[in-house]
Symmetry: C2
Subunit: 456 residues, 2 copies
C-alpha cells in the first residue's frame, strides 16, 4: 500500500482529473464527494494528505479544513486547498484555518506533485522521529521545556537592499515576528556562534545571479547551524517550474512575488509551528537517549551504562583499574525512621559529594538502592586503597543536611575494592563479584571501612 | 567559524583558484602544500572536507587518501580528489582507496560546490544522529546487531529495458551486488510490503520524459519506505549543470553515461558503506530510546516510565485504577543461598509469568530489586483484589526452574493494593505510598498474602 491521498470535491469530473495525476505518481487515491464524507473518511481511513475543494454545497472546504485542524485525530494531516476562484480572501482564510497550501484550478501537475512530495517528506520525517523515539519520547517530551513561541526570528534575503526593506515594511504589522534583513554571506557565515540562527529564511530565488537563491537554500540545508531552519522561497510570478524545484530542494513553502504580506505572515506562522514541533521532537530524542544511561534520582550513570563502561575500560586501559562497590550502612533504617524523601535527599547529596571528590574521568554510577560503583584507572593497589578509603571518610566526615531535621545526619558507608591488573584477563562481572565479596567483609567487620579484595 | 575545507596542492596558484571559489561560498579554507603536511593538518586541524590533488612530489594524493581512510581519526572526513590527468586507472584507484569523488581540472565551480554541499549534508546528518544519541548511542550500538553486508540490493531504473540489461551485464562481474532492473512505477509502488526495499537506486536522469529521473529521486526521498535508500543518478556526459541539481536534490552520488562498470561498482560500495552506517545509527537511536523506558534484566518498564504512565492513567481514565506493589518474599536469602544468577533467573521468569497472566493494557514495571508494580483500570475494589490475589497464587502456585538446581524452587510474594476512585484527586506518589503501606501489612501479617489499602 502506497501513500494515501484523499480527494474531496463534489464534482466527479474534478475528482477524476486529480485522480489521474496522482495515480500516475503511484499514490493510492481515496475520494469523498462532500464535506461531511471528507470528515468521516479523514477520521477513519487515515489518509496521508488531503486535496480539498473549497466550493462545495452543504459544508464547504474552509469549514472542513477548520474542523480537521481542530481535531487532534486529524490535525497533522496536510491539506492542500483547491479553488477555482481568484478570491484572495478565502484563500487567506484557508491558510489561516491551517491549510498548508492552496492551488488554483486548473491544477498544474508538476507543482501539485512537488507540493505533495514536499508535504509528505515533512510529515514522514516527523513520523520517523516519533517512531525512533517510541514510548520513551513521550516521557522525554514531558521533561523537555515547551518552546518559547514569542521569539521568532525571520531572515529576509532579497536581491536588493530596497526589496528587503519593502518586504520588512509589509511584515511590520504582524505580531510575534522578529524580522532581520540579511545578505547571502551573512546567512552562510557561521550563525551558531552568534546564537541567533533565524527560525526561517525567506529567500528570493534569484539574487545577484539567476538561481543563486536556490543554491543558497541547498547550502543552508548542508550546514549544521541552519539545516533545520525553515525555508520559504520567493519566486517570480507564474514560475511554477522553479517552484516545483524549490520544493524538491527542501523549501518548506513557496510564495510568488509580489506577495500579500498577510499571506506571507500566515504562511510563516505555519512554518514556525512545524519547525517548533520538529525541534521539540529532536530535543526529546536527545533527552530520551540521556535517560537511557542515567539514574533518574541522582543523575549518575545507571547500572547498565556502568557495566558497559567497565567492559570498555577493561579493554582499553593498559594500567591498573580500581573498582569500588560502595554501600550506605543501615540505609533501610534511615528510610524507616525519616521517610523516603529523606533517604532520597541523602542519595542525591551523596552523588554530588562523590562527583566533587573523585577525579575527573572516574565512572561513577548508582547500581540500585543504596549501592554505588566507582571505576577508575589507578597507579597501583595502594593508591586505589587510599582513594577508596578517603572517599569513605568524605562520606562519613560531614553530616547530611535534611530539610525536616534540625541537625545534620551522620552517614557511613562500607566499601569493597577490587583492582584489576593488566596481565590477568579480568571480566567486568568477575571484578564486581570480587569487590562485592570485599564489601561483604567490610560489613562483617563492623561497617564504615574499606576492604581490598584478594587478587584473582 | 564556518565549515573548514582543507585544500591540498603543491602548486600555490592551484590552491588560490580553489580558495577563491570556496571563499565565495563562505567556507573557511585551510591549505597544505604537500602530502605530509596534509596528513598532519587532517589530524590536527579537523577539516570538514578535503580537496586533494593527485599529482604531488614526495607523497602523492592517492597515498595520502589511502592513509587518511585507514586512520580511524580521519577516515570519516570526505575527500574529493582533484586531478589534471585523464588517467582513468588512478581515478579508480582513488575511489577504491576511499575517496568520495574526483573532479578534473579545471574544476567547474557549480559542480564543485554542489558536491561539497552534498558531502557536508551527509556528514552533518550522521554527526547529528551521533550527537542526539550521546553516550547512550554507544551502549545501544553494542546491543544492535552489525548489518549484514552480504545482502546488497541495487535497483537499476533506466529509460529503456535494453539499457537496464546493459547496465546489469556490466555489473554482473562484481561480487556482493544483488542487481534488479525496475521501472519507475515499481520503485514507487509500496516496497515496504514486499520487504525488499533496494539499498541503492541507480536512476537515469531522463526516463520517459526529460528530468523524470530527477523527479523520481525527489519522490523516493518523500516516501517512508525509500527515504533512506542511497540514490545514484546517471547523467548524460558533460551535463554538469544537472549533476549539481541532482546532488542538491539529495542524490548521494552521480556518474556520467557511458560509465565504466568498475567505477560504478566502487561508487556503489562507497554508497552502501555510508548507508549501512546511517542505518545502524538510526537503529541504535531506536534501541537507546527503548532502553530509557525499560528494565534491562526483565524487559519490563522501569520505575521512571511506570511513574509517568501512572500519572497519565490518573489523568485519562474515568473509572477505578488499581495499583499493586509486589515484593518477592525472602528474596535476599535466594540470592545468598543460590547466587545472583539464580536470583536474576527468577526475576526474569517472574516477569514473563506476570506478562502472560495479566490482561493486556496493564502497566507492568520493575521498580527496583525484587519489587514490581502493576497498574490497571478495574471495575471496582473487589475485582482489583481478585486480580491481585490471583496473581499472588500464580507466583506461588508453581515452582521456578533454576539451571543449577534439580527441583523447582517455590517462591511467594506479598502484595499491597491501592485502588484510586475517580472522585478523589489521587496522585501517583500518594497511590504508591498507600500500596506500599498495604504491602507492609502483608509482610507483617506473615507474607504470601494480598492486603488492600484503606481508601484515602
Amino acid at each position: 500500500m502506497g501513500e494515501r491521498i484523499l480527494i474531496v470535491d463534489d464534482v466527479a469530473t474534478n475528482r477524476i482529473v486529480l485522480k489521474v495525476k496522482l495515480r500516475s505518481a503511484c499514490y493510492e487515491v481515496l475520494q469523498a464527494s462532500s464535506g461531511h464524507e471528507a470528515l468521516r473518511m479523514a477520521r477513519h481511513a487515515a489518509p496521508d494528505l488531503i486535496l480539498l475543494d473549497v466550493m462545495m454545497p452543504d459544508l464547504d472546504g474552509l469549514s472542513v479544513c477548520a474542523r480537521l485542524k481542530r481535531d487532534p485525530a486529524t490535525r497533522d494531516i496536510p491539506i492542500i486547498l483547491i479553488t477555482s476562484r481568484l478570491d484572495h480572501a478565502s484563500k487567506l482564510e484557508g491558510l489561516n484555518s491551517g491549510a498548508d497550501d492552496y492551488l488554483t484550478k486548473p491544477v498544474d501537475e508538476n507543482q501539485l506533485l512537488a507540493r505533495v512530495r514536499s508535504l509528505l517528506r515533512e510529515t514522514n520525517g516527523t513520523a520517523e522521529l516519533r517512531q525512533q523515539g517510541a514510548s520513551a519520547l513521550d516521557l522525554a517530551l514531558e521533561a523537555t521545556p515547551a518552546p518559547n513561541d514569542t521569539e521568532n526570528t525571520i531572515a529576509l534575503i532579497a536581491p536588493r537592499p530596497e526589496t528587503g526593506l519593502f518586504w520588512r515594511a509589509g511584515l511590520a504589522g504582524f505580531r510575534g515576528l522578529n524580522i532581520r534583513i540579511m545578505t547571502r554571506s551573512e546567512a552562510l557565515s557561521d550563525l551558531s556562534a552568534s546564537q541567533s540562527v533565524p527560525d526561517i529564511f525567506v529567500i528570493a530565488t534569484d539574487l545577484s545571479h539567476r538561481n543563486e537563491g536556490l543554491r543558497l537554500l541547498s547550502d543552508l540545508r548542508s550546514r549544521p547551524a541552519t539545516r533545520h531552519a525553515g525555508m520559504m522561497m520567493v519566486l517570480p510570478a507564474n514560475d511554477a517550474e522553479r517552484a516545483a524545484i524549490a520544493l524538491d530542494l527542501g523549501a518548506g513553502d513557496i510564495i510568488y512575488d509580489p506577495f500579500d504580506p498577510a499571506e506571507m505572515a500566515v504562511r510563516l506562522k505555519t512554518q514556525l509551528r512545524r519547525k517548533r514541533q520538529a525541534d521539540r521532537l529532536r530535543a526529546g530524542l536527545s533527552a530520551g537517549m540521556q535517560m537511557a544511561t542515567t539514574d533518574p534520582l541522582t543523575g549518575l550513570f545507571n547500572r547498565r551504562y556502568a557495566m558497559f563502561q567497565l567492559d570498555r575500560l577493561l579493554c582499553d586501559i593498559s594500567g591498573n583499574l580500581a573498582v569500588m562497590v560502595i554501600d550506605i550502612d543501615h540505609f533501610k533504617s534511615v528510610n524507616d525512621r525519616f521517610g523516603h524523601a529523606a533517604g532520597d535527599a541523602i542519595l542525591t547529596d551523596l552523588a554530588l559529594r562523590m562527583k566533587s571528590f573523585l577525579p575527573d574521568g572516574c565512572v561513577i554510577a548508582r547500581m540500585g538502592g543504596e549501592e554505588f560503583l566507582v571505576a577508575t584507572p589507578v597507579r597501583d593497589g595502594s593508591a586505589a586503597y587510599h582513594l577508596a578509603d578517603t572517599l569513605r571518610e568524605v562520606i562519613s566526615g560531614q553530616g547530611f543536611v535534611i530539610d525536616t531535621m534540625e541537625s545534620p545526619l551522620t552517614i557511613t558507608a562500607s566499601i569493597g575494592l577490587a583492582v584489576a591488573h593488566p596481565q590477568n584477563n579480568q571480566t567486568a562481572p568477575r571484578l564486581i563479584e570480587a569487590a562485592d565479596a570485599a564489601l561483604y567483609a567490610s560489613k562483617a567487620d563492623g561497617r564504615n571501612r574499606t576492604s581490598l579484595a584478594k587478587p584473582a
